[in-house]
Symmetry: C2
Subunit: 279 residues, 2 copies
Amino acid sequence: MTVAIIGIGLIGGSLAITLKENGFAGHIIGIDASQENLDKAIRRRLIDEDMPLDEGVKAAELIILATPVDAMLTLLPQVLDLVEDQVVIDVGSTKAELLNTVDMHPKRGQYVATHPMAGTEFSGPEAAIPNLFDHKCAVLIDADRSAPDAVKTVQKMYESIPMTIVELDREAHDLHSAYVSHISHISSFALALTVLEKERDEGRIFELASGGFSSTVRLAKSSPNMWIPIFRQNRDHVLDVLDEHINQLARFRSLLIKKDFDTFYQLIAQANDIKRILR
Amino acid sequence: MTVAIIGIGLIGGSLAITLKENGFAGHIIGIDASQENLDKAIRRRLIDEDMPLDEGVKAAELIILATPVDAMLTLLPQVLDLVEDQVVIDVGSTKAELLNTVDMHPKRGQYVATHPMAGTEFSGPEAAIPNLFDHKCAVLIDADRSAPDAVKTVQKMYESIPMTIVELDREAHDLHSAYVSHISHISSFALALTVLEKERDEGRIFELASGGFSSTVRLAKSSPNMWIPIFRQNRDHVLDVLDEHINQLARFRSLLIKKDFDTFYQLIAQANDIKRILR
């Protein structure tokens, strides 16, 4: 199958590696607003060739949108205007706003909204890695609004990696993503700023940083070009989760002020229940 | 050298593996309030033999306290009462309160306060692993209050691993630890509770959790038996850092409410500066 990937960064580039490697894609066309990215992608052999948008969409059987989610709002209708019987998917982190823009598009049936739940804190074609998606979860969103054949093609693609497929509607997807992904990024950005600001006065504070610190602030390396559009589109859910997270921290604060370490102990024991989920 | 380790858990047990492996310790005596832990430690060959406190301290040339920091407050003076010319160290995460309790002890010079900055979210002798401390940072605290020979022995021990040695006073140590270790744990516990409470209503929310979520909540698996005593002893610094962290999150919240994504973008770009410290 000939696959066109629009946006050859961490996600688009990693998908390119995987789908070529496992044989799902026989030929990969790269499309990107940045010629520099395309040149890098060719040098890294992520793609077989690059093309302008119109040409690439016409030449492909499957078109994958893997740009930041703000660019998708204009790109997706543009791509759907171009397609005849091709299948189009996106792999973005937010869905409600994007789906609202194409609900009435005559080619809506050929589009399947998806979100492969995997990533790293790096970006660009140089961040693309093999095996990023292996055995992770791929969400299909509002799949009942897509043509059954298009859904089947997309299921085959994710199963070829292999990924586990889950179906959600747009609201549930955006809410769940706020809880298990977006808030982790907000928390990391805030922790990094807290410690970086202290470092200005104290210096040398990072000499002592070890594995625990590294893992909680790792995501703070993530690019604002990717994350600001996500926070903008998923603002209401992110605000709800952020409020709850601040409330939890405020509860800890009040227990420390009252020196109520017994209740604090119980809460940590409850938090330990996360062992059930994370191995 | 014969080394007695009091508290054969994650830290004591991992030190036992490393010091035996690199030849610094010829014989390791295990001391622990739990006979079950000692039996496990023998079965895992972490220690050569176990002894009661009095006997173990007398038989050793170097005594390492590796219990939770609340137990150290009574154990350290007790051990110093027992020693003649042995060297005693602790490896706990907080220092001001502990050092205050032995400032006037006649054997104060034979004691060196230390903090090897490494750990995992697991605990007990079964959590002990090789190479936990390799190339990490070991802090010596108020080393000018210890006899030069005692300090030299401890430096040799940490250099044998090898670890990088840094010196700080008790206040600076406890403040720095609050920033680069304790707040990360508070943040993880709070994130875990936020999402676990949501799961009760929504269910299935964790299906979507991937690497980013795992790394920010990994520390939430940590034992309250270790962490409550740390938060109790370092309460004032932890409260200060927690206040700053809540302020950062509240700033993000207010930017989201105002939809001021330009300022939010700038803050994320600033947080990205953490790349300078974490590779």
